[in-house]
């Protein structure tokens, strides 16, 4: 009640001031009239009555002022006056205002921009109703130490049947679909989902129905739900699309199947955060409990906490482990909030940038605080006069803080413009180079506005509090006396200014150290040879429909025709196919046995290496050196003995003391005779950075595409060109399409681009940190320059005296320089110690960074000191030009 009436008073004061003033006036005038009338009734003449009533009431204005104060309006009146006065002061010092506002705008803008990204990626809830109840339910594997594993279909069914914590559980799986019909086949992004999937997300199709229980059974599963986008593209948004059929080939299926469209999802619905799905089809289970392949989502019942669900599924997992020891002995269940599963891993990297921009803001704050401290010397007389006529210390501080918050708000307003621009750039940069979920949702929304406003006010208080404290605490007498002379600035103020400069130099060094270490790591990456010649290579992804190429013969004839057609093009050296492109990140492992060697006694009883599949000419095309033996050639066919090429690491690991060429291994058994199928090693190739420049090569076995191999449906065509590969992209594409139009081509890229994409994360992190560190360094340099030149200006007389007494220009130069260098060195040392504490975090941005690398740290320290030297040299030079005569006369 009381709070309410106070609030009402304030609101009235702010929004309806005129009415309140009018009321007050009317009320008191009515009082005086009534009193006058009463006096006249007692027999006084009207003039006398009026005089008496005026006399006894006293001044109406004084009474009104008392009313304003007792209604709590005084504070707002004073605030208004402070703001008006502050705005006038800022207008009167345009130089100071411009520098301060720009500094703050840059620093706050960087923070707002990073916040806009953090808000979109980490903080916003998922775009589903009651999304905090949505969970990912993972399998765990204690033997492999995996806590977010895909589940097998039977496990998923058992979880779904037994758990009571969840309102529903559903499994899903991405599927690439080929949509046939018309002249060209098209790749579509599919999602196989178990019935109940959409209900868990609390989304219903905008047209038709969702999947029914039972539609996960083979035979009744030929139904499809379209995304709104696909529906509009392919059916023109026609309402009668539901009920029509569509021909789809899933990569795993043998051939195209006819699906009946039963529904269309709403326009804004998408499940994946990176790329929207086109088509949803039912998930058909696999009864094999050993085959983990399904991510599972679930919706918790409204009153069940995550921990309780976890406990329940732990029990179910233990029962399954007992029941099916063969497949489930080491497995368990892990319940994780869906948002956490999506963006949890990004948190560390994004938080580093939050820290970085916060440091930039602190540096900006101390710069502006320093500017204000310098100015406070000029304003001492004004403040002293205010204090002399009765302003309390708190009142003075309030006035100064109002000014600094006002300044910060101007900075914040400009920062919003900058933030819109920076965050646009950030999204383009980050979105292009790595897949950050939800980054495309980054906008300057009300949250960002609120953040910027709060940050601006806080900033204003942070950089304003030191100047306000020191200014308001002056000895009045001293100030009034000294104000007429050139103020020398008290020791206290000077100490604060030094502290601020040392602090910001230290922060700048920390950022510089981080940027330097990242740059060093990036250069190390760039200097790493990938193991092949990356220039003038064109790469194209192919996907071979399983229906068409199930037979080895059809594959062999397609591949041979494709390669010879491409190689016949002008300006092309050679072409080949490979399953996993180097630097691409993906790798598959192959369990194998060496014929003639005993099985390893430890582990699983077989050896494991990564495996890849290549066509003849692959090593030649990539210019991967053959260290011994030969690569695949025309002599290796489906009917000749199977062959393999291994890399140098595999040769060293498995045949440390002998030449592996001619040795035999096996990994498959003949399905009929149960005899091992031997693979003869025909060559040893040089190591290639298969999963990334920063990761060492692992043992690798290459199989021949023209012989029976597993998983052949994905392939990358690599083409060695005579000049810029992208110039030939169209020719290669046309040639490939003419060989077989049913094979979709995707992503034509040069190898340089593949390489650059593979280190995109490192490049972007280095670039961003570099920009912020440069900004920090520039601000710190400006701060140092400001402090040193201010002190030179203050010591003009002292310099004059020194020079009059015989100090040389070199002495003066040394004096000023040493002051700047002392501040810089202190900052450097504090910065180095602080840097040592935080640079370890950089491994979240770049795996191969060396957090304590002495060379990088020395280089950035030297760089910082050079800037410090320069920032102090300019004012030092000015000090040497002081004319002793005029300096003394200045006194």
């Amino acid at each position: 009640m009381r709070t309410y009436s106070r609030l009402r008073g304030w609101l009235l004061a702010v929004f309806n001031r005129t009415r309140m003033e009018d009321d007050m006036d009317a009320e008191m005038r009515a009082h005086m009239e009534a009193y006058t009338r009463d006096l006249m009734r007692k027999g006084l003449s009207s003039d006398e009555a009026l005089r008496r009533s005026r006399l006894e009431f006293g001044s109406i204005e004084t009474a009104k002022d008392g009313c304003r104060e007792s209604s709590g309006l005084r504070f707002w009146d004073e605030l208004g006056a402070d703001i008006r006065f502050g705005a006038r002061m800022l207008r009167k010092n345009p130089g100071f205002t411009a520098v301060a506002v720009l500094t703050l705008a840059l620093a706050i803008g960087a923070n707002s921009a990073i916040f806009s990204v953090v808000n979109a990626v980490l903080l916003r809830p998922l775009p589903f109703a009651d999304s905090d109840k949505l969970m990912m339910v993972w399998a765990t594997d204690s033997r492999r130490g995996v806590s977010q594993d895909v589940a097998s279909y039977p496990d998923f069914l058992d979880w779904r049947a037994q758990s009571k914590s969840f309102a529903g559980l559903a499994a899903f799986r991405n599927a690439t679909l080929i949509v046939s019909g018309g002249t060209e086949s098209e790749l579509a992004r599919g999602l196989r989902v178990s019935p109940g999937f959409f209900e868990i997300l609390k989304v219903q199709p905008s047209l038709g129905r969702s999947f029914r229980a039972g539609e996960e059974e083979l035979g009744s599963s030929q139904v499809a739900i379209l995304s709104d986008g696909f529906w509009k593209r392919h059916f023109g948004g026609a309402l009668d699309a539901v009920g029509k059929t569509i021909r789809l080939t899933a990569m795993q299926d043998q051939q195209a199947e006819t699906y009946t469209i039963v529904g269309v999802m709403p326009e804004d619905f998408r499940f994946s955060t990176d790329e929207a799905e086109d088509i949803y089809i039912p998930l058909v289970g696999d009864p094999n409990r050993n085959h983990g392949w399904l991510p599972v989502i679930g919706r918790l019942r409204s009153n069940v906490p995550t921990l309780q669900a976890q406990a329940e599924l732990d029990l179910i997992g233990q029962q399954l482990a007992k029941q099916y020891p063969k497949s489930n002995r080491d497995t368990g269940v892990n319940v994780q909030p869906m948002l956490e599963a999506l963006v949890g891993k990004l948190r560390a990297a994004l938080m580093i940038f939050v820290g970085v921009v916060a440091a930039v803001l602190l540096i900006g704050c101390s710069n502006v605080a320093n500017l204000m401290l310098a100015r406070s010397a000029v304003r001492r007389k004004e403040l002293a006069v205010r204090a002399a006529i009765g302003a309390s210390r708190g009142r003075l501080m309030r006035q100064l803080l109002t000014e600094s918050v006002l300044l910060a708000l101007f900075g914040g307003a400009l920062a919003l413009l900058l933030a819109a621009w920076i965050s646009h750039g950030l999204v383009a940069l980050l979105g292009k180079n790595f897949s950050i979920p939800r980054i495309a949702n980054t906008h300057i929304d009300p949250w960002v506005l609120a953040f910027t406003l709060a940050l601006s006010v806080t900033t204003g208080i942070v950089f304003g509090v030191v100047p306000a404290m020191t200014s308001a605490a002056h000895d009045l007498n001293d100030d009034l006396r000294e104000a007429s002379r050139g103020a020398t600035g008290s020791t206290r103020v000077r100490r604060w200014r030094w502290l601020l400069v040392v602090g910001e130099t230290a922060l700048a060094l920390v950022l510089l150290a981080c940027a330097g270490l990242l740059l060093q790591g990036l250069m190390a990456l760039r200097g790493t040879s990938p193991g092949f010649d990356r220039s003038n290579l064109l790469t194209v992804n192919l996907s071979l429909p399983k229906s068409k190429f199930e037979q080895l013969d059809s594959r062999v004839s397609y591949m041979s025709a494709l390669l010879s057609r491409i190689q016949a093009l002008p300006e092309i050296g050679s072409a080949a196919l490979v399953a996993d492109l180097p630097l691409g990140g993906s790798q598959d492992s192959l369990a194998f046995h060496i014929i003639g060697q005993p099985e390893p006694t430890t582990g699983k009883g077989f050896r494991v290496a990564e495996f890849n599949i290549a066509s003849p000419g692959y090593f030649h095309t990539m210019e991967i050196p053959m260290l011994s033996g030969r690569e695949f050639g025309s002599e290796d066919t489906a009917s000749t003995p199977r062959v393999a090429v291994i890399n140098k690491t595999a040769a060293r690991r498995f045949w440390p003391d002998e030449d592996p060429v001619g040795k035999q291994i096996w990994s498959e058994q003949d399905p009929i005779t149960k005899q091992p199928i031997p693979l003869t090693i025909v060559g040893v190739a040089g190591d290639v950075r298969q999963t990334g420049l920063g990761r060492p090569s692992r043992a690798e076995i290459y199989l021949d595409y023209l012989q029976p191999v597993p998983d052949w449906y994905w392939s990358v065509l690599v083409v060695r060109t005579a000049s810029d590969p992208m110039r030939l992209a169209d020719a290669v594409k046309n040639a490939a399409s003419s060989v077989d139009p049913d094979v979709p081509l995707q992503q034509m890229r040069s190898m340089e681009e593949v390489l650059s994409t593979s280190i995109a994360r490192e490049r972007v992190s280095t670039l961003l940190l570099g920009i912020f560190a440069a900004l920090a360094l520039a601000l710190a340099a400006i701060g140092l320059y400001g402090v040193v030149s201010y002190s030179v200006a203050q010591r003009t007389t002292e310099m004059g005296v020194r020079m009059a007494l015989g100090a040389t220009r070199a002495d003066v130069l040394r004096l000023v320089l040493s002051q700047g260098l002392r501040l810089g060195l202190s900052g450097l040392l504090i910065g180095l110690v602080s840097a040592a504490m935080v640079t370890r975090l950089l491994t979240h941005l770049m795996e191969n960074v060396h957090p304590y690398d002495p060379i990088a740290l020395s280089v950035v320290s030297a760089g910082l000191m050079a800037v410090v030297l320069f920032a102090s040299y300019v004012p030092a030079r000015r000090a040497t030009r002081i004319n002793p005569i005029s300096a003394l006369r200045h006194e």
């Binding site: 009436s5 008073g9 007050m24 009082h31 009239e33 109406i60 007792s70 209604s71």
Partner: protein, 113 residues
């Protein structure tokens, strides 16, 4: 008639609360009511009445609304709120206790010490 007493520091608020507790009043009415109850033995600075009224209203002890005065003029009427009633009660009690104590002290004679 004896010379009216000046108001004791800090008691004006209590008197206003008491005055409006007997029925809603406009500002001038509060003044008349206090003078009437006190038998004109108290002198209230008329101008100082209003800051006190605004303070009490700001504290939520009284509430105001515009109405019509006895001679058909627009006037702002004040009435006691529930919080004001409680406040008046506690202030009355503590005033009475204080008055007792003070009277006791002032009434003490030399023999009683």
């Amino acid at each position: 008639m004896a010379k009216p007493l000046d108001l004791l520091q800090g008691t004006l608020d209590m008197l206003i609360l008491k005055a409006v507790s007997l029925g809603p009043l406009h500002g001038y009415g509060v003044l008349l009511r206090i003078e009437q109850i006190s038998g004109n033995r108290l002198e209230i600075q008329q101008g100082s009445l209003y800051p006190a009224l605004y303070r009490l209203e700001h504290q939520g002890l009284i509430a105001s609304e515009w109405g019509e005065s006895e001679n058909k003029r627009k006037a702002k009427y004040y009435r006691l709120t529930a919080a004001g009633r409680r406040q008046l009660q506690t202030e009355t009690e503590s005033w009475n206790r204080m008055a007792d104590v003070i009277a006791g002290i002032l009434g003490t004679s030399a023999e009683e010490v």
